[in-house]
Subunit: 190 residues, 2 copies
């Protein structure tokens, strides 16, 4: 049985706490939805912020909503060199000991002490997909993206939940190395 | 027998004809050596140029010497988006039908009609290495770079010559996707 998964390419983006949203956009501010994402309830917001590193900055980083318990900036390794921030490869939410950064919005700015990561590539599985394929949460998978720049990615983390929709998330470095785009199909090979 | 190869990461760079060197730097100008490269006789020059696309530009692109029969700019897919130039993945030297770009030096500028490529990943083999491992010129290999972001690259082109030194060349997107650096070791797995 072929285990195929749609690919979603994540450009740099940021998740914010409600407190930081209000610091950056003003008291009581609520994010507004630009478009829904593949995971149920998640959305790209109309709002963007600037992030400022020691070496460079990005002026328009998309906020993904809704608000989260911790602010987290997700960048590529290429971005980390441009910003001058030594971000480690981490699973989303695992930000202990990661570097911080300054974030600027129209109403103010905030410097976080930690929260800058390079998101580890992963696949969201609905529980039913995972069961069908014998995959457990936290499994490390090998996943092939074919084509001219065909690549097999190792250490792709399986994340399994009833609230997930089947989707593989890679960053722009990984997508460009593989010549892949959102909507392409990957195959779990091991 | 394990077939291991040192990895060299190629940042964006340009090869120039002697005619274009003189247009950009002045009549009779000769490139000066900054440091030697892994391939015998090749060097990174002290000189840099600006390259100007429709969407963006890079101000300091390293010239690799010596002068070549055709001018060729080698960029990553990430770079191609930043410049606004639709460069294809090609082997070095195969520039027919590729896009052009404007190049600016201290003494002048030139717009080339073609020559912008994303270099196809490849391994330089000295003839003796290739024979020992049963590899022929133009073979397409699968090559593994291990570690936290472990990757197997498919379609790695074998280039075999008595004038080559053993070295695998990948671009910055590929290196960053794999978490690899110049001096790392790759293994030919197929």
């Amino acid at each position: 049985m072929s285990k195929t998964v749609p690919v979603g390419v994540s450009a740099r983006h940021i998740h914010l706490t409600q407190e930081h949203i209000e610091t950056l956009f003003g008291p009581g501010y609520q994010l507004t939805e630009f478009k829904p994402l593949s995971q149920p309830g998640q959305f790209a917001a109309n709002e963007t912020v600037a992030v400022i590193g020691t070496k460079g900055q990005f002026d328009k980083v998309r906020i993904l909503g809704p608000a989260r318990p911790a602010t987290q900036l997700e960048i590529s390794l290429t971005d980390s060199f441009a910003l001058g921030v030594k971000a480690p490869v981490r699973e989303s939410g695992n930000i202990e000991g990661t570097p911080g950064i300054t974030i600027k919005g129209p109403a103010g700015e905030v410097t976080i002490e930690q929260g800058v990561i390079i998101a580890a590539r992963h696949i969201h599985f609905h529980t039913s997909d995972a069961e069908k394929w014998g995959i457990k949460d936290k499994d490390l998978l090998k996943v092939r993206l074919g084509g001219e720049r065909g690549v097999v990615f190792e250490n792709v983390i399986a994340r399994v939940s009833d609230s997930f929709a089947l989707d593989m998330h890679i960053d722009t470095d990984e997508a460009n190395a593989a010549g892949a785009r959102t909507g392409d199909t990957a195959e779990i090979v091991d």
